[in-house]
Assembly symmetry: C2
Homo-oligomer: 308 residues x 2
């Protein structure tokens, strides 16, 4: 079983309008709602890949009830922990005239000390049964900035591989707790380390504590610096589409391949094929299964040879 | 008791952002939710004025549950009729940098024939106990365009005064059913009649069936053409503020004064004082009680003397 943690789970709401014009009134044509937050997206992809997954984090209020109702028929098992506040919504407003998306993200519920303690109990029990753990996304209000570091120490004490996918100070503190893997994008990695050059930045992140670093480079694929070697993995051709959820699909690829005992080049190929197939899918955050199958053998994974 | 009908009731959600920039991502600073839809706003003001009020219309789904929960502690009595679909949300996005509001309105639930029949039963029972009825706002999907005309005929058959506050084809059909009062704004009145000049347009609306017409002229107050006479009523000075809900406060003023047996000039003074006090209130849709008390004796109500 793979455990994904989404402390700030969300209900992803999408509105479609003819054209978004600030300071005017709009009729919303279509309203869709689905479970959201990075860890829930990762778990959905894991389910599609045939892996057992369990989602935990916090859920509460009327929006939390809707989220749980939508999660119930899906493969990931719901082990979310109740919180008094209301689960946040993220609203994507799609402008039909341009295809552009405008995003409005609620902050999430205030989480109290007793709720955090209840979560730690649940998390400890789930980690004991997990083959791998993914810690994903932002922290809701009230959660201390070292929360991910605390969760990483628990997983490491149980000898369960742990992946961290977050940003800012929670990433900085988390890295110092020595996670097995971090998956920042180039921007997050540069903010963490102060270095823009991927090899130098990833090396610095490893010195700070991360055992392995997989940096996502957008359409160019990923760059991985690990104890077993350094690789670049790229899709066979550049693709265009909606990058929403591509990073979460990459996390699902890395974790599922790790759980199957595959080596680094195979993990990276799967991550790149899945994230590229996600960009190609018409629905944001889903992946195109046929494109994934077609892309997987064609991802170029090359050992990195430092310039002389 | 005053009955207000809101067939397309709403949960009014407000987001505050630093600055709304299309095609970018925003952190929402503050989220507020409150019961919405014109008839619910009217009933809230009636409650603040000390009048018993009952709200009916449709409510359903998770959003409907939130709406009912927020309505429960307020004075208006909840006689909303359950519907299978989800009550709509209206989202107001306030841009802190400019003070502008961008509005995104969901369409509302699809209402089926059995649900409409259930509503008609409830409505018939409530009308029998009502001193006045207000029919407010847009129609949800699935409701026939002559719905307000049908509700007006029921009220008239029970000899209960009925006010219609809607627009477009539902207003056109409703006027033909001879409501006691319609309260269009200048734009809606022009669209109904084809005339821009208020006296001519109001006269035409009366010929179409409305016994009385109170046209709201924004900051200039109202213009009323009734069987008892023609008046203009205006605030003592022009005010600036948020006009959201000003029209609903005017409806509450007209209905409460009607129920108290006041004559037309007093009804119009109350409508103008309440709507002006609503523009002055810091929270959208609320009215400033002190401003209302101060404005009421100072509203200028003058019989209209046609130009020679």
């Amino acid at each position: 079983m793979i455990l994904t943690v989404t402390l700030n789970a969300a209900l992803d709401v999408t509105y479609t309008v003819d054209a978004l014009v600030p300071h005017s009134s709009h009729r919303v044509g279509e309203v869709t709602e689905r479970p959201g937050g990075k860890g829930l997206n990762v778990a959905r992809v894991l389910g599609a890949l045939g892996h057992d997954s369990v989602v935990t984090g916090f859920v509460g209020g009327a929006t939390g009830d809707v989220l749980r109702g939508l999660l119930a028929p899906l493969p990931p098992r719901d082990a979310l922990v109740p919180v008094a506040g209301n689960t946040r919504r993220t609203l994507a407003v799609i402008d039909r005239s341009t295809g552009d998306t405008t995003q409005l993200n609620e902050p999430g519920p205030q989480v109290g000390p007793a709720e955090w303690a209840a979560f730690l109990l649940t998390y400890g029990e789930l980690v004991a049964d997990a083959d791998a753990v993914a810690l994903c996304g932002s922290l809701p209000p009230g959660i201390h900035v070292g929360a991910y570091a605390e969760l990483i120490r628990t997983a490491r004490a149980a000898s369960v591989p742990v992946l961290l996918d977050t940003s800012g100070e929670p990433l900085r503190r988390g890295v110092a707790a020595r996670p097995d893997l971090v998956k920042p994008n180039a921007e997050e990695l540069a903010r963490l380390t102060g270095f823009r050059e991927p090899l130098r930045a990833a090396g610095d992140a490893r010195r700070r504590g991360a055992h392995a670093v997989v940096a996502s480079l957008g359409p160019e694929g990923v760059f991985a610096v690990t104890p077993q070697g350094t690789w670049r993995a790229a899709p066979p051709t550049a693709v265009r589409g909606n990058p929403t959820g591509a990073g979460d699909s990459a996390v699902a690829g890395l974790l599922s391949a790790l759980a199957e005992g595959l080596d680094w080049p195979e993990r990276l190929a799967r991550a790149v094929a899945l994230s590229t197939a996600t960009v190609l899918a018409p629905a944001a955050g889903e992946y195109d299964a046929a494109a994934y199958a077609e892309l997987l053998p064609r991802v170029r994974v090359e050992p990195h040879v430092p310039a002389p």
